[in-house]
């Protein structure tokens, strides 16, 4: 593994004397852990309490931009440290022995941070090998979350992949993020023209979340009103805003069927639908298929016929089968196979999936 300083020609950094040669076990463990994250990451080392509880809108915005970038966020504070990735259900804890603010600062050469109270946090850009690509100590006027959102958003806006000759999408993302960090650093260096007078409305430094619009979703018989950006897919709205995580994300491109739900009683890929376009139409997810504790006949048949192995594709398979039963166009095993071809099973449980669906058809129970 390259040490950060060996890649210095490649990296560019904004704070002085950034790269430390760290060969100790802690550094190795830290890099190994970041490799496990497997994505470019923005590392935030913040004074205690600085991360706090972010505003819902800012957090949604941050999530949306991280998703657009395919990047992760690692937050290290004395109180709580975690790694956040948009498509991983739970925040992962940073291993305790790595997650000390002091260790972090030493590791990434952020000296002086502790002492300088006016720099309550630093943003560091790490590539998927754990190497530092850029760093900035922001004296954020709008606060940590707003600064982070503005930085990420500017990176996304400027990710014109095809205008750069770089090897991979990751390099493109890293270079956009590097530029965005430079911008946010420059912004934090601007002298205050006038200190904001107390009581005045907060300066317009909060990045715009103006694109959010009010969206009404009718899911499993319940009506929800959500403020969402138009780019949010129905799948992400279900999973992240309504906590209906039964619907799975496999490919996010319509190719696997894991995200199948019923929209207006028809099976569709929730990953290909903008939530704003699914408004006011009944949506049924796997959570809405059973009647309380009573399994839907398809669910019972999948259990009985052992129609799954890992189970990841199963909610999509069952919702797709629910659509297929309503359509009444599959009458033979072959027709079931053909009309279930939008659902891929990496475990290859197909034989029993077909058997489960056929058994429900043959039983004649109403579905």
């Amino acid at each position: 593994m390259d040490l950060p300083h060996q890649r210095a020609g490649y990296a560019f950094c904004l704070a002085p004397a950034m790269f430390h040669v760290q060969t100790d076990a802690l550094a190795a463990a830290w890099r190994a852990w970041l490799c496990g994250v497997g994505a470019p990451a923005v590392l935030i080392v913040a004074a205690d309490g600085e991360w706090g509880t972010p505003d819902r809108r800012l957090l949604d915005g941050i999530r949306g931009e991280l998703r657009a970038l395919g990047a992760a966020l690692v937050v290290v504070t004395e109180g709580r440290s975690f790694c956040f990735r948009p498509d991983v259900d739970r925040d992962e804890p940073v291993p305790e022995r790595l997650a000390t603010g002091a260790g972090m600062r030493a590791l990434h050469g952020l000296y002086g941070v502790e002492a300088a109270a006016q720099v309550p946090f630093t943003l560091t850009l790490l590539d998927e090998h754990g190497a530092v690509r850029a760093q900035t100590s922001a004296r954020a006027e709008g606060g940590l979350h707003a600064t982070l959102l503005a930085t990420l958003r500017s990176a996304v806006e400027n990710t014109r992949a095809d205008e750069r000759v770089l090897f991979s999408r990751r390099e493109v993302v890293l270079s956009s993020l590097t530029a965005a960090l430079a911008l946010s650093f420059a912004a934090s260096c601007r002298p205050h023209a006038k200190p904001p007078s107390p009581g005045a409305p907060p300066a317009a430094s909060t990045p715009s979340t103006a694109r959010e619009i009010l969206v009404t979703l009718v899911v499993n018989g319940e009506t929800h009103q959500l403020e969402l950006e138009p780019r949010v897919s129905l799948l992400d709205a279900l999973r992240e805003r309504l906590a209906l995580t039964g619907t799975k994300k496999g490919c996010d491109h319509g190719q696997c069927g894991a995200c199948t739900v019923l929209l207006d009683a028809r099976r569709v890929n929730a990953c290909l639908i903008l939530a704003v376009m699914a408004q006011n139409k009944p949506i049924t997810t796997i959570e809405g298929l059973s009647h309380g504790e009573n399994l839907h006949p398809l669910q019972a048949a999948f259990v009985k016929e052992d129609a799954l192995q890992c189970g990841y594709c199963t909610p999509g398979q069952i919702m797709s089968a629910a659509g297929l039963l309503r359509e009444k166009r599959a009458h033979t095993d072959d027709e079931v196979r053909e009309l279930m071809s939008g659902n891929i099973c990496r475990c290859g449980a197909y034989v029993n999936i077909v058997r489960a669906i056929r058994s429900v058809q043959e039983s004649g129970v109403p579905t």
Partner: protein, 327 residues
């Protein structure tokens, strides 16, 4: 996916006006646009939703079949009239995508879907003339098993992926549109353009021009029509080669024929030489096979996709055989 604004158009004129800027995109079913936005290939600032301003009706009258631009692929494929009058259209749609996607995909969107060229779809590949005019073509140096052999240029060899468009071409369909200056009709064969030196231009539609409906005329060949698609797996895959054929027979002689190809052309491809070789001949296997040999005339292949020439000849021969045998 970059952030964008969303406009559910309330009037067709509004859609045309707001869809005009280069930074706007229409959305209908969304199965293509959402996919390409997520890939960063499309980065619009404004997405104009057509669902409030177009029809999804499927109607059958003296003129023939009218499909509203919003008619969903599933609804067209299983429509009784379509299955009876134009089996090739139903079969082509059902040979494409998955039931979930077909439930979303619309008639207009299907015709305007964009190539599956892997280099086009990977925004981090620097060279793609279609994505970025003048940047070169990564496919020419790359892996081209799925690429086109007919109509290719030195700038782009991407295949047009639609199955439905191939069937509509064999049925002499026309696209009706609305633009700022009024309405017009475009024969399906004229809708898509050849890549030439401008592969970034794919259709004759002007910015802001909306497809409102597709009209399929009544035809003496309609009922004797079929679609045959060969792909890398049995279902849910794009065509390596496909053929839509429609025949008119009279006492064992072919009076007229339409043959269109998919998976091999830069646009839905009419096999005119094959059609000419069928007309006036007896409807026999020999005729079909001889005519099929002409289907790929003018092909320009790469080592990866040269197999499409013999494959297409067989696909066309078998499709003709099948159409000839229809009751």
């Amino acid at each position: 996916m970059k952030s964008f604004d969303y406009l559910p158009a309330q009037k067709l004129e509004e859609a045309v006006a707001r869809g005009e800027p280069r930074t706007s995109r229409f959305i209908a079913g969304g199965t293509l646009l959402v996919d390409l936005m997520r890939l960063d290939v499309e980065r619009p600032d404004l997405v104009v939703d057509l669902n409030g301003v177009l029809s999804s009706d499927i109607a059958w009258n003296e003129a023939g079949l009218t499909l509203g631009a919003l008619a969903r692929n599933t609804d067209v494929a299983y429509d009784d009239t379509v299955r009876r009058e134009f089996p090739v259209l139903s079969e082509a749609i059902l040979a494409g995508a998955s039931p979930q996607i077909r439930n979303l995909a619309t008639t207009g969107g299907n015709l305007l879907q964009r190539t599956r060229c892997a280099y086009f779809r990977d925004a981090a590949v620097p060279a793609c003339n279609k994505r970025k005019p003048g940047s070169g073509c990564a496919a020419l140096e790359g892996y081209t098993r799925m690429h086109a052999i007919l109509g290719v240029s030195e700038r782009c060899i991407a295949a047009h992926p639609s199955d439905m468009a191939v069937a509509l071409l064999a049925l002499d369909a026309a696209v009706h549109t609305r633009r700022a200056t009024g309405e017009r009709q475009i024969p399906l064969g004229d809708l898509h353009t050849l890549p030439g030196t401008t592969p970034e231009l794919e259709t004759v539609l002007e910015p802001g021009e909306v497809i409102t409906r597709v009209v399929v005329p009544r035809s003496p060949r309609g009922r004797r029509s079929t679609y045959l698609k060969v792909r890398d797996r049995a279902s849910f895959a794009f065509a390596l080669s496909s053929a839509a054929v429609a025949l008119e027979l009279e006492q064992g002689t072919i009076r007229s024929a339409r043959v269109a190809l998919g998976g091999v052309g830069v646009k839905p491809w009419r096999a005119a030489a094959t059609e000419a070789a069928l007309v006036g001949r007896p409807a026999t296997s020999e005729t079909y096979r001889a005519a099929a040999k002409l289907a790929t005339s003018g092909a320009k292949t790469t080592p990866d996709n040269a197999f499409k020439v013999p494959l297409t000849e067989r696909v066309v021969a078998r499709a003709l055989e099948r159409a000839g045998a229809l009751a």
